[in-house]
Amino acid sequence: MKPFTYERAASPAEAASAAARQPDARFIAGGTNLLDLMKLQIETPAHLIDVNGLGLDKVEPTQDGGLRVGALVRNTDLAADARVRRDYAVLSRALLSGASGQLRNRATTAGNLLQRTRCPYFYDTNMACNKRRPGSGCSALGGYSRQLAVVGGSDACIATHPSDMAVAMRVLDATVETVKPQGATRTIPIADFHRLPGDTPEIETVLERGELITAVTLPKPAGGTHHYRKVRDRASYAFALVSVAAIVQPDGSGRVALGGVAPKPWRSEDAEAEMSRGAKPVMAKLLAGAKPTEENKFKVPLAERALAAVLAEPRG
């Protein structure tokens, strides 16, 4: 690890202004992604701002019948929250399918949304990678791309977003709340939160320098039957090859978002219009424009079959 200085922030606004003041400052929450990358010198912050003491660790009801999840709520606590289990089961399921018990006990809501890709070349500092070293090229294009994106990528980067939780947040239409260094707050729909790579794969979200996530808000429950189906190389403790988050209503209509196939949770409203007609027409629209590689083209039929399996389950 490169040397850094460390401070514990006193309030969310102070954390944001401290982050804007110091060059190369980063927030640290659970640390489970940031420290991993710092040990490999993929992340080299000069200053760390510990946001664990900011009291952002509560799950509270909102005015309009939803839930406001503090940025520092641990993945274990969110998955186990009785209201989440009852009304937002897709979120519990997604969280529980990710990482390990030990990691979920530290990993936070904000940190999970901001975790970085698992592209093997991003992790290998000897290889070209536009996301890690802008302009150096992409080793995955024409390289080992089995795990990488089939849709939404660019000529600069085909990395996937590895989060399970984010896919559930997307299907639930969550909103990200933030505070900026000058103290202004804003809300960002999850659909707009992550960016597609284009020619700047190093910029992954719409967050500005120093902007701190304070909460993620869930709208009032959508009802229906909730599913999170994750297909991976091992039964546990592995990232998704493909995952399907779905909410299916008794009449067969519903919502679906995919993980493991794109640089962000992948959902489209016009694909959902096909839900009651089955997995094939949904995937034809959702993955229209897919440009898989020879190594990851299996993800296209895999996603369709995973959704078909979900749609074959009983509806509540």
Binding site: P3, G30, S100
Partner: protein, 220 residues
Amino acid sequence: MATPRENDVKRRTLMAATVATAAVGAVAARAGAQTTPPAASPSSPAGAAAPTLKVSFTVNGKPRDLDLDPRTTLLDALREGLHLGGTKKGCDHGQCGACTVILDGRRINSCLTLAVMHQGGEITTIEGLGTPEKLHPMQAAFVKHDGYQCGYCTPGQICSAVAVLEEIEAGIPSHVTADLNAKPALDDAELRERMSGNICRCGAYSNIVEAIGEVAGRKA
């Protein structure tokens, strides 16, 4: 109590002395040169020194005060700073579970957290669960069921297992819990899923599940 800095100096003095005895002057000089960065954590390459920070937490019931390079992980603080070598370093990247300790009542990977982040924290390591004379029931069950071969993963497995039973007791669901709104079962599928963050290269898994099942009060 010795600070890690003192310990480092002692260890390095010893190292230099050993090399000098072997009369390899050049190597001794290099060993000496390594003492330059103060209290750098063992996994940190030597770089410009960051100022050290004080942190106090409780380990196995004893208050501990440390003065650390901020880069020091909790794992390195326990092993190198406090000489509690029971907690093991496997991957150092959150992938194997060898470094599992119980922090404020919950199991975590001590390799992916900084020691300075735990001011006032309460940490339990394998050394704090039981003693050779009075084993924790989980330790005794691992012995009885041969829940290991080489033993390297075992401290992490045992800390994890103790916490797993508490998580089930607290009603925390897992990936294999069929009904999210019911109390999770105590069957092998639940134990295996919940223990999946602890890798055993010797493959003692089935005996580990038996040991945990026995402590959970199931027929082994």
